[in-house]
């Protein structure tokens, strides 16, 4: 798909190229008014040019920062493009951020403009307007409810575009000018500033250069042979590096079409309709998907249920081998083929995954069972590893070399090394330029010789040569007796059990490992129904003795699996409790990307931690929580604590010896 003349080094230039070579191919879809409204590359270019002109007429200048706030909607993607056309810098912000978080980012990024989705976002920004003296104008997508607002500083994106079209129509020079602006863009320009979700404290603005983004993107596009015939569903948070990379950047480079769901709650239905060929989802999503499948199958009739489980079993045995092209007995292939017709095909179809050619998961470790479940259905699911600073990924699994516990081999033009302290460090084409307005942190994040510190501990697996990540380098601790204690690693092992939604493990500098568990309401709820366990609330269910038994079994398994890995054997879980509430980003317990904030939780639930280690049978807590509707309230609860039998390491060592 290389263009005739010099390769484009900015996204506006790519857009122009695509409008030329993919002119009538779909670029963007949006489920709206009951059908998938579609724009071709040519149409997008036309609209975005007009939009850019309109913006410039409203004072947007080279170097200005524009906040982009809202769900994945075409006009917000256009806003990014239009901004880049003018050499302005888009700053996507998580749409579900509360006004305060939002304000922090907007202030730090010194945004002068904001392109937002709807009334909700407009209100949110207006509510913190006093903190944003620099903010000049806002552009919104959805008119609904905004009719009676003061429009002196507020514009509907449609109007801006219309105004731009006018200008272009009236005066040919305008067209020439905007094309000039596009040409004026350089690869070294700041393409976008992405704010990290901030697993630890204040989030930082990662500055990325156009050239960097495009180089990184081109490598991965080539790596997975993505092309203009692919189709992706843009449902990941607009502000997350993942969406920007996978959909926006790769979309523009490969020229494939991205489809925006009607709304977040119809995303699953829309996924089913679109049936993307290139799909990314965090393990959590795959997990929920699987849970839903299993629950729904429970309600199926006897025959169908057994049929299903039989063939899923077959898939487990042969599926992955077949996918990896390994030898499989003929009858295996035959049964699998039948299963393909009766179960796998239909199942993938109802999940909307039947057209998937390449699927990725990342962000956190994925359960091996979960991982191989999807692969055994014949879906090419792979893992990758990276971070915002790398502009998304530095390693990925090549087709055919898939291992549940690795994150793949390093990508072309990427250089990775493991520091003495076990930290993974890299140099990559897409690596970030700096943290916005934060020299100190930038230095901190880089080594003297220009490698980026990932802060993750990991090692290259000798037999596969793939990278394995155990945990955040700084989080890896040791028990009193000196056994290695990587909390995340253990937590993930726990989370591989469908009943466990979240887990927080403690043990650094302690005598043993203890865990706080979040049950998965969907899974445990369904289980409760089948075993007619009655419960009034999440809290009640979480506290139910039978549920404790259920979880205890899972933990037992985890311990056994830990036992298998000598290094980990000492880190078996001795005690656990089930948290009375779901960990929640609104309470600051999770990051916006749903990662646990271990320290914060430790403080918040101090009484629990104490109880876990002082041997008491139960513990009380009273803590403030935020409800769905945003109201705050106090949750007070008494939770029981369970001991779990652990296999003494010594005996194990003997066996090993």
């Amino acid at each position: 798909m290389a263009s005739e003349n010099t390769p484009a080094d900015t996204f506006p230039k790519l857009l122009v190229r695509n409008a030329r070579i993919f002119a009538e191919r779909p670029a963007l879809r949006h489920k709206d008014l009951g059908i998938w409204q579609t724009w071709t590359w040519a149409q997008v270019l036309e609209a975005v040019r007009a939009y850019a002109v309109g913006l410039s007429r409203l004072g947007v200048r080279r170097g200005d920062t524009i906040a982009i706030v809202g769900a994945n909607r075409p006009k917000l993607y256009w806003s990014v493009m239009a901004a880049q056309m003018l050499g302005a810098v888009p700053v996507p912000v998580y749409a579900d951020a509360v006004a305060d978080e939002l304000a922090n980012v907007l202030v730090h990024a010194e945004v002068k403009f904001a392109a937002v989705e709807d009334q909700e976002q407009v209100d949110k920004i207006l509510s913190v307007a006093d903190r944003l003296p620099k903010l000049e104008r806002m552009f919104y997508d959805q008119k609904k409810g905004l009719r009676d607002y003061d429009h002196s500083k507020l514009h509907c994106i449609d109007d801006v575009i219309a105004d731009g079209r006018n200008a272009l129509a009236l005066d040919a020079k305008v067209g020439a000018w905007i094309d000039g602006e596009i040409a004026a863009g350089k690869g070294s320009d700041t393409s976008i500033i992405l704010y990290t979700s901030g697993t630890t404290g204040q989030s930082k603005g990662v500055v990325l250069s156009a050239q960097g983004c495009i180089d990184a993107g081109s490598d991965t596009v080539a790596f997975d042979r993505l092309n203009e015939h692919d189709e992706a569903l843009a449902y990941l948070p607009l502000a997350w590096v993942g969406d920007h990379y996978l959909n926006y950047v790769q979309g523009l480079i490969a020229g494939f079409c991205i489809a925006c769901p009607e709304s977040t709650d119809t995303a699953m239905q829309d996924l089913r309709e679109i049936g993307p060929s290139f799909y990314f989802a965090p393990p959590r999503t795959f997990e929920q998907m699987l849970t839903r499948v299993m629950i729904r199958m429970e309600d199926a009739g006897f025959f169908k249920r057994h049929l299903f489980h039989f063939f899923i079993d077959v898939a487990r045995r042969y599926g992955e081998k077949i996918l990896n092209g390994q030898p499989v007995p003929l009858h295996g292939r035959l049964v699998y083929a039948i299963g393909k017709v009766l179960v796998y095909g239909p199942l993938k179809n109802v999940l909307g995954l039947s057209r998937v050619r390449v699927a990725y998961t990342a962000g956190e470790a994925i359960g091996p069972d979960l991982f191989s479940f999807y692969r055994s259905l014949g879906m090419n699911l792979k893992q990758l590893y990276g971070q915002t600073e790398a502009f998304l990924y530095v390693t990925a699994q090549p087709d055919g070399q898939i291992y549940a516990d690795t994150v793949g081999a390093k990508l072309p033009n990427v250089d990775i090394r493991i520091a003495d302290n076990g930290e993974v460090q890299f140099k990559s084409p897409g690596m970030f330029v700096s943290y916005f307005k934060d020299e100190a942190k930038t230095k901190e994040a880089m080594t003297a010789d220009g490698y980026v510190k990932t802060g993750d501990a990991g090692f290259f697996d000798e037999k596969t040569g793939h990278l394995k990540i155990i945990d955040r380098a700084k989080d890896v601790g040791r028990l009193k007796d000196g056994t290695l204690f990587p909390p995340k690693y253990i937590e993930n092992k726990l989370k591989f059990h469908p009943n466990i939604r979240e887990a927080v493990a403690y043990g650094d500098g302690r005598d043993f490992v203890a865990a706080m568990i979040n049950i998965d309401l969907a899974a445990v709820g369904a289980w409760a129904e089948r075993h007619n366990v009655v419960y009034g609330s999440y809290q009640e269910l979480a506290g139910h003795p039978l549920v404790y038994d259920l979880i205890a079994r899972d933990i037992d398994e985890t311990n056994r699996s830990l036992l298998d890995e000598k290094v980990m054997a000492g880190a078996q879980i001795k005690r656990f409790l089930i948290l009375p509430k779901e960990l929640d980003a609104d309470d600051g317990e999770l990051t916006r990307t749903q990662k646990v904030r271990r320290r914060f939780i430790a403080e918040r639930y101090a009484p629990f931690i104490k109880a876990l280690y002082d041997g008491s049978r139960e513990a009380d807590i009273a803590t403030e929580v935020t409800f769905e509707d945003g109201r705050k309230g106090v949750l007070s609860a008494r939770v029981k604590i369970r001991d779990v039998a652990t296999t003494p390491v010594a005996r194990d060592l003997e066996k090993a010896a």
């Binding site: 008014l33 009951g34 009719r147 009676d148 009607e262 119809t266």
Partner: protein
Amino acid sequence: MRAPADSAAVAGEVLLSVQNVSLSFGGVKAIQNVSFDIRKSEVRAIIGPNGAGKTSMLNVINGFYQPQSGSITFKGVARSNMRPYDAAHGGIARTFQNVALFRGMSALDNIMAGRTLKMRRGFFWQLVRFGPAVAEEVEHRLKVEEIIDFLEIPAIRKVPVGRLPYGLQKRVELGRALAMEPDLLLLDEPMAGMNLEEKEDMSRFIVDVNEHYGTTIALIEHDMGVVMDLSDRVVVLDHGAKIADATPQEVKRDQSVIDAYLGVAH
């Protein structure tokens, strides 16, 4: 809560006026010599205790009942009796006290049915469903989709209305009425049997319809709070006779109204 724009409307021109209308079934007098008017782009409430003849009044206005005496002037044309078709054709739409949807049809089709009067393509085109027929179908589908979006019911677009919960049925019915792009919208207890949340939504829609489309609205409602919030003027019926006609505030203070509601004998 009404924006100033509407108080202007209160003084606006008369869209429909009812003059000395009387209606009776057999011996039963449903409406006795009632007169009142509805002004352009106002929200007019008709209230009164049960059996006051409110619904009968709406039925007379859109021609479902023929009054024995009196006349109705709509858009300046006086009729002694209005035929339902003329009413619809003239731009009067209507929702019903107990939802009167086409139960066998999907929400979409119900609202599409509301476009019937706007559709022109003749029998032949319908037969072949080709060219102009399709074009027309699509054009109206778009209008309907906008209404669906406005009423926030995209999720139930293709669900047979029979299967919908009551609150949603009421919305679909409103949608069907809106699809007629009426000048005058008659709402018969739009919030009957709704929970608070649904009522709030419905009120919001009614206000939006009135403000955004400038549609004149006449509504029967029991919930006094709603009436006070929504309406510009209120006419009060009791035992088929008009006992008050004023602004909500005034009506609230009116003794005869209070009596009527408390059921004091006349």
